[in-house]
Structure formats: structure tokens, C-alpha cells
């Protein structure tokens, strides 16, 4: 992969962050993710991996430094702009899937379109949702509810929801943490394949050493905090 030819999609520069309680401090001198890269973030519990995702998504803002996505400084934007940018350009995949139990699969996939004006729900989006669901292998389960699906199927739904609006950046927080070993690899391959088709970038937090070989690059958060980046 010719990394030098690809532009940066995410850049964190001179980040200093701490929670209000003051018992956690995170310093990130520099972190860069290139467009189309599949990057894993590993590190001990409590080292700030999820905080990194929240900073990258604009959910949290640093006390110092800048978070830049596709050339736009996210933390310089106001709350509403950050939210609109996030829901339009970033896809989230959660460990516990984050599906809404009272919505069927189709409505779960379309859910982001129903909670913001930044995305417009029209017939084209609905068609795309159906196609994406077919592609991911849950096309025949659109009228079911999450409780009726297996863990693997639920994570497929979550991936479908995260990718429907064609985000530039996918943030995955232990996306395979609740899956059995066979399903883990399968879902990850499916995710990578779909992300590649959509020319998106993925930044995934994981504890699972077995999956690291599937990523382009691995950032060890401990090493990172000590000043360097550990690459595959």
C-alpha cells in the first residue's frame, strides 16, 4: 500500500484531554490515519482508547490541540456543527451493537436518518439500505427485531447502519468483542470488504490480538503514549 500517495483523513495534533473529575489525562502529540487505512488501536483497559474514539468523533473536545478530519478542524466547530458532521461523515460500530430493541432491522438501519435533519431519508436511501442489507447477508431479516437475531447477525445490522450514509471514517469500539471466534473473523472480513467498497477508513479499538494481522496498521496505545507508534 502506497501510504504516501494517500491524503490524511484523521489527524490528532498536540492533544491534551482530561475529564472533569481530573483523574484521567490523555496526551497525544500526533496521530495520523490515512484515507482507506484499516487501523487497530490496542492498549490496556483505562488507557484512553475509547476516549480517543470520542475525540476523533467530536463527542469530546480536547483542552488543547486539534482534531482534523478530512481537512476540517472538528473541535473548532460548535456543538450542532460537530453533531451534524459526525452523523454525516462518521460511522459508529459498538461492542454491544447499540441496536434499538423496539425497532425492526430495517428501522434500525435507517435510524440515523430519523434522528437528524442532517441526513435526508428518501426512497433512494431506503433502496440503498435494502441493497446493503442483502450484501451483508441480513436482507431476509429486515422485519425482525434485534432480539430475534444472533450476535453475528446483530453486528451485521450495526455495520449496515454505520455504513448506510457512506461515511468517510468508521470508528469501531470492540466491534467483535461479543462474537465467537469464527464469527469474529467473518464479520471483520465483511466489514473490511464493505469499507473498502465504500472507500472509507476504519479506526478500530480492540483487545483481540488474533485480529491484528487483518489490519494495515496497529497503534499500541501504551507505546503511543510513550511517544511512538507501533506499526504492523
Amino acid at each position: 500500500m502506497e501510504e504516501t500517495e494517500r491524503p490524511e483523513i484523521l489527524q490528532l495534533t498536540d492533544i491534551k484531554f482530561s475529564y472533569r473529575s481530573g483523574d484521567f489525562h490523555l496526551n497525544i502529540p500526533n496521530l495520523t490515519v490515512l484515507t482507506g487505512e484499516k487501523v487497530a488501536v490496542i492498549g490496556p483497559s483505562g488507557s484512553g482508547k475509547t476516549t480517543l474514539l470520542s475525540l476523533a468523533a467530536g463527542i469530546l473536545t480536547p483542552k488543547k490541540g486539534n482534531v482534523t478530519i478530512d481537512g476540517q478542524v472538528i473541535n473548532a466547530k460548535g456543538d450542532k456543527s460537530r453533531r451534524d458532521y459526525r452523523i454525516s461523515n462518521i460511522g459508529f460500530i459498538f461492542q454491544d451493537f447499540g441496536l434499538i430493541d423496539y425497532l425492526d432491522i430495517r428501522d434500525n438501519i435507517l435510524h440515523p436518518y430519523r434522528i437528524t435533519k442532517a441526513l435526508k431519508l428518501d426512497a433512494e436511501v431506503k433502496d440503498r439500505a435494502r441493497l446493503l442489507a442483502d450484501q451483508i447477508g441480513i436482507g431476509n431479516k429486515l422485519r425482525r427485531h434485534p432480539a430475534d437475531l444472533s450476535h453475528g447477525e446483530r453486528q451485521r445490522v450495526a455495520i449496515c447502519r454505520a455504513l448506510l450514509h457512506k461515511p468517510k471514517l468508521i470508528l469501531a469500539d470492540e466491534a467483535t468483542g461479543n462474537l465467537d471466534p469464527d464469527n469474529k473473523i467473518h464479520i471483520l472480513d465483511l466489514l473490511f470488504q464493505t469499507v473498502q467498497e465504500q472507500k472509507a477508513t476504519i479506526l478500530a479499538v480492540t483487545h483481540d490480538q488474533e485480529l491484528l494481522t487483518h489490519f494495515d496498521r496497529v497503534i499500541n496505545f501504551r507505546d503511543f503514549l510513550s511517544g511512538g507508534q507501533d506499526e504492523k
Binding site: S54, S88, D107
Partner: protein
């Protein structure tokens, strides 16, 4: 807003039982005071109107309320009886027009009102079909009786025995319906009117049977003297008064001693009214004279006090229920923290989250409101019947 309502609808329809409980609670809180208010207002209106139209009532000493409720609204509580002499006494006084009332029996659960034709003029009751009763054994029925029993002029209705197990009791009388009254939205709609003499026949004070002096059936005769014939129980009394047997009907005793439950007295003027009331103030008299409006006003004052207590109870219960609903919503919010966190991370604003929850509350209140309106409409539609069956 469309999307918020859609998601709210999905949430509520997924949690059906919870939603139904919430809707039921809010509906009950809203309907209960409104329904009570509607019914009490209607009962107040019905009671007051009828009482205002009835100047004076003479009956046996005892409960004035029972006397008024029986005479004006034909309630089941039967007051002590007086005699026809009371009506004659009023007539002789030249102070008021007496209308006898004997309200004791029933026909198919509707009260039989024994009275005179003056009653219909006084109440301004008009016929929808047929004529007023013109002879013994005929009756005029109210509009509700006709509608509910599917009866019309020329049909028959049979009086109900007071006690099925009383072998010596009164025989049921088959009465011919001579006319049906126009609906008046009063107790008159639910009554069977007969001449007071017919009511006495039902009582057993008058009857008709074969002429025992002419009969050739020896098994009927118990003893036969010169001018005196004694019949045994085989002598069949007529259960229907027809043109053929009407002449055989007769009363035993002096009609002045026959029972009435009340006399409705219509004074000719205010002065006559005052004088007439004065005549019944004597401690020795066996009668009481009451102004129905005063009795009903006293009753309404009591109802008003009860209503205030009920209102206070409803407010307390309503407040407690509302607090419980707030608790349910806040617990529901805690249960949905995960969901709220997810949609916030995806990019949903706090305002949108609040709008989603607001939409759920809106739908619950809207559905409760629609059910409430429907129930109140039904209650308003049938308030007269409900008041009569529940209160009067």
C-alpha cells in the same frame, strides 16, 4: 416531527402493555371527574326540574324524601299509604286540584302509576299514538317502555306479581295499551299509567268473576242459602278486563278507604297554597304536606357536599397517579440510558432526544384524550338514561 412521532409510535407499540397501562391511567384520571360532573349535573337538572314543576305533595307521615322520590321519580321505595279520602279532602277544600297517585306495582320492571287523567294535563304529556285510558284495565305507556319492550297501541302488558311465592297474592292483570306517550325526558317515559281504579284491581281490592248465582257448575259452589252464595277457590277470577267481562268487575269496600301513596296537589294560587300547607301543620294530622323543591334542594345540598369530597378524593388520586406516571417515565429513561447514549454518539442532539420522549408522551396523552372524549360523548349521549338507572 414526523420521524419523532414514528419512532415514538414504534416504541409504544413495541411496549404494548406498558403503553396500555399508561393510557388507561390517564384516561381514568380524565374521565372520572368529567363523567361524574356530567352525571351529577344531569341528575341535578332532572331532579330540580321535576321538583319545580310539582307544587305540593301530600302523603303519609314519614320520610319526605321517599315520598318525593316515589311520587315524582317512581322509585322503588314505597312510602306508607294514605287513603283516597286525602284526595277528596283536598278537592273539598277548593284550594287545589288533587291528583291521586298509587305507585306500588310494576309491569316487566317498569313502575305502574295509578292516577287520573288530570295527571297527563298537569305534566303536559302528549300521545304519540292511541288514546288515553278510557276504561278499567287499559294503560298508557311511556316512550321508553314502548321502545324497550317493543310495544305499541293495542298490545298488552301484564302486571308483575309482588311476590312469586305468595299463593294468596295478587293475580297478574293483563292490561291493554290504549296509547303511547311522546318522550318527555322525564320519569314519565319509563312508566305504565293506569287509572287509579285499575291499580286497585291489581292490588286485589277489585275483581271480576263469573256470576256465582247464575253458574251451573256445582263444583264451584261451597254453600248456597236463600240470597247468599259462597264459592270455593275453584271460582276463577278474570286476569284480563274485556268488554265482555268489564261489567262483572267490582270493588269491595268504600273507595274513600282505598290506598294511595300520595296526592299531588295543584294549588289554584299562591294564597291557596299557603292555606293548604297550613292545614297540614297540625300535629294530630296523619298526613304530611311537602314542597318537592325544598326536599330536592336539601338532597342536592347533601349531594353537593358529597361531590366536594369526591372531587377532593379524585384530585388526590389523580395527583398520586400523575406522580406514579412521572416515576414510570423517569424509570423508563434510566432503563433507556444505553439507547440514549448510542443515539447521542451517532449524532442525535439532546433536544432531539427530548423531542422523541415528548412525542411518546404526546401520543399517550393524545390517545387517552381521544378515548376520554369518546367515553364522555357516550356518557353525554346517554346521560339521562344513566342518571335514571344509577341515581334516580
Amino acid at each position: 416531527m414526523k420521524n419523532s412521532l414514528y419512532l415514538a409510535y414504534r416504541y409504544l407499540s413495541f411496549n404494548k402493555i406498558r403503553s396500555l397501562v399508561l393510557i388507561s391511567c390517564i384516561t381514568i384520571i380524565a374521565v372520572l371527574p368529567l363523567a361524574l360532573e356530567t352525571l351529577l349535573n344531569e341528575s341535578e337538572r332532572q331532579l330540580a326540574l321535576r321538583a319545580e314543576e310539582s307544587p305540593l305533595l301530600i302523603g303519609a307521615k314519614g320520610s319526605a324524601l321517599d315520598l318525593v322520590m316515589n311520587s315524582l321519580y317512581f322509585s322503588d321505595e314505597i312510602p306508607e299509604t294514605i287513603t283516597m279520602a286525602a284526595a277528596e279532602q283536598v278537592m273539598d277544600s277548593d284550594l287545589a286540584m288533587p291528583i291521586p297517585l298509587y305507585i306500588r306495582f310494576q309491569a316487566r320492571n317498569f313502575p305502574i302509576v295509578g292516577t287520573s287523567l288530570d295527571y297527563f294535563d298537569f305534566r303536559e304529556l302528549e300521545l304519540a299514538q292511541g288514546t288515553m285510558f278510557t276504561s278499567l284495565g287499559q294503560c298508557v305507556i311511556g316512550s321508553d317502555v314502548a321502545e324497550k319492550l317493543g310495544l305499541k297501541e293495542g298490545d298488552y302488558i301484564v302486571s308483575s306479581p309482588e311476590n312469586l311465592f305468595d299463593i294468596a297474592g295478587v293475580y297478574p292483570l293483563k292490561m291493554k295499551i290504549s296509547g303511547v306517550l311522546v318522550a318527555s325526558s322525564s320519569a314519565d317515559d319509563r312508566a305504565v299509567f293506569v287509572d287509579v281504579m285499575t291499580a286497585w284491581v291489581i292490588h286485589g281490592l277489585g275483581h271480576g268473576h263469573k256470576d256465582v248465582t247464575q253458574t251451573t257448575d256445582g263444583s264451584v259452589i261451597l254453600k248456597k242459602d236463600k240470597g247468599n252464595v259462597t264459592a270455593n277457590a275453584k271460582l276463577m277470577q278474570y286476569a284480563e278486563i274485556t268488554e265482555e267481562n268489564i261489567d262483572s268487575f267490582h270493588l269491595h269496600g268504600d273507595p274513600a278507604t282505598f290506598p294511595l301513596t300520595a296526592v299531588l296537589a295543584i294549588p289554584y294560587d299562591k294564597k291557596s297554597s299557603t292555606i293548604l300547607q297550613g292545614r297540614y301543620l297540625n300535629k294530630d294530622t296523619i298526613y304530611q304536606i311537602v314542597r318537592p323543591k325544598e326536599v330536592v334542594d336539601t338532597l342536592m345540598a347533601t349531594i353537593f357536599k358529597i361531590r366536594n369530597v369526591l372531587d377532593a378524593v379524585i384530585v388526590l388520586v389523580g395527583s398520586a397517579t400523575l406522580l406514579a406516571l412521572v416515576l414510570v417515565f423517569s424509570l423508563s429513561l434510566r432503563l433507556r440510558e444505553g439507547e440514549i447514549d448510542v443515539i447521542f454518539k451517532i449524532g442525535c442532539s439532546r433536544a432531539t432526544t427530548a423531542r422523541l420522549l415528548g412525542a411518546e408522551i404526546f401520543i399517550i396523552i393524545l390517545v387517552s384524550g381521544v378515548i376520554c372524549l369518546g367515553l364522555i360523548s357516550v356518557i353525554v349521549q346517554f346521560d339521562q338514561e344513566l342518571v335514571r338507572s344509577l341515581f334516580i
